[in-house]
Symmetry: C2
Subunit: 222 residues, 2 copies
Amino acid sequence: MPGESPSRYDQKLVYVLKTSAAIFAEKGYHSTSIRDIARATGMSLSGLYYYFSSKEELLFLIQDYCFGTVLDESRRLLAGVDDPVRRLKLLIENHLNYFVNNMNEMKVLSHEANSISGDLFKKVNNKKRQYVDLAMELISEIAREHKVQGVDVRVATFSLFGMMNWIYNWYNPRKDVDAAGLSQNITTLFLSGFLGGKALGAEKVETGRESHLDRNVSVWQQ
Amino acid sequence: MPGESPSRYDQKLVYVLKTSAAIFAEKGYHSTSIRDIARATGMSLSGLYYYFSSKEELLFLIQDYCFGTVLDESRRLLAGVDDPVRRLKLLIENHLNYFVNNMNEMKVLSHEANSISGDLFKKVNNKKRQYVDLAMELISEIAREHKVQGVDVRVATFSLFGMMNWIYNWYNPRKDVDAAGLSQNITTLFLSGFLGGKALGAEKVETGRESHLDRNVSVWQQ
DNA sequence: TATAATATCGAACACTCGTTCGAAATTGTT
DNA sequence: AACAATTTCGAACGAGTGTTCGATATTATA
């Protein structure tokens, strides 16, 4: 049912997640106290626990929501596309686009991957494995199709993720190329390398830009 | 003066650093207590403070020692080599070789870069900037020489560091290719990309394998 | 407006943390 | 053996942590 507006509860939960993600991204999960989050959200310490049952679950909610979106969106985009090179390009584009537009959440997802444990860790890691497997299979197909030799598929896959996930360490939206440029650059780098850059032009593809979390947050922003 | 053996103090300091780095790498800096380190080293809580003046300084000592070695070694290796492509290959090879042989320290250096603050942060960051600048200038030279178009030098540089520094998230010495293979793969990927892999073979280069920290640690190991 | 459901809060608890300090043990020197 | 320097330790302090709980305020329902 389209047009159904999210409940008061959901709206505020999203606000809490978004605010927490920003602080986690800035100070790190372990250096952030629930009191920090209370201050930033304007809520009381105990009031926050109405929206999560532990600090670790709060981290989980951020990571799970974030990864779920990336995974769903990439599947949606790849559906109906057959050529593995084209599919990989879409995956890269979606990944980087979401990263740039949700830097806080993606930093928390990348950098705090081991700050979570037990079942919550497993849940996030399942999605992560699915996502990595998808990319690795694409790269494997490409290797077969194009008879790539001398490059290990596992090394190639994680090198690609390294390129993409490292950006929270250096990327500056006001200084660097935009998300589309970033995708274009990294796609070229991965496929053709630094010295063969002219061979493959990555065409622009339409992907959603706005964060899901952004949608309902306006009410709560000062 | 070669052959001068390190003092008792230095030996044990190195032992403390090495042990701490292993725990920091496993549990993360903020989740590690000085009591954890005391237990692992077999020393008392207060006894540790004879070797560092604060937990943060302990982190600094690990990062500074580690980065200093990488930087010095890379300068030593690059001295006398003119061709920028050759120079970059050496930098990559040295970086990955040191990374694989000192995974704990390099993980602490990469992953805990923002767990340190103030002057100590500045000190480490100065070395980091020098190192990044060195790589970026090499890449810039290569771009000029080979008339590379369509790839941003800054994006390329940090993508390379992303590939290299991400490995602590996935690399398994017992499962993956060794340090030499890793260098070969990543050099090829960066320069020729996944689809142009055959063009450039990265020749093997001799670099030191043993960690500096390893040298004097044997006495203290159980 | 009365009643139920939802949402928020202040205060406190139990615990862990980094760090200090004076004394004791160990090692090196004469 | 006597002394000095180096190294180690136990015990404690004060501050900050995540979390709980009963009560209160707010909103929705009738």
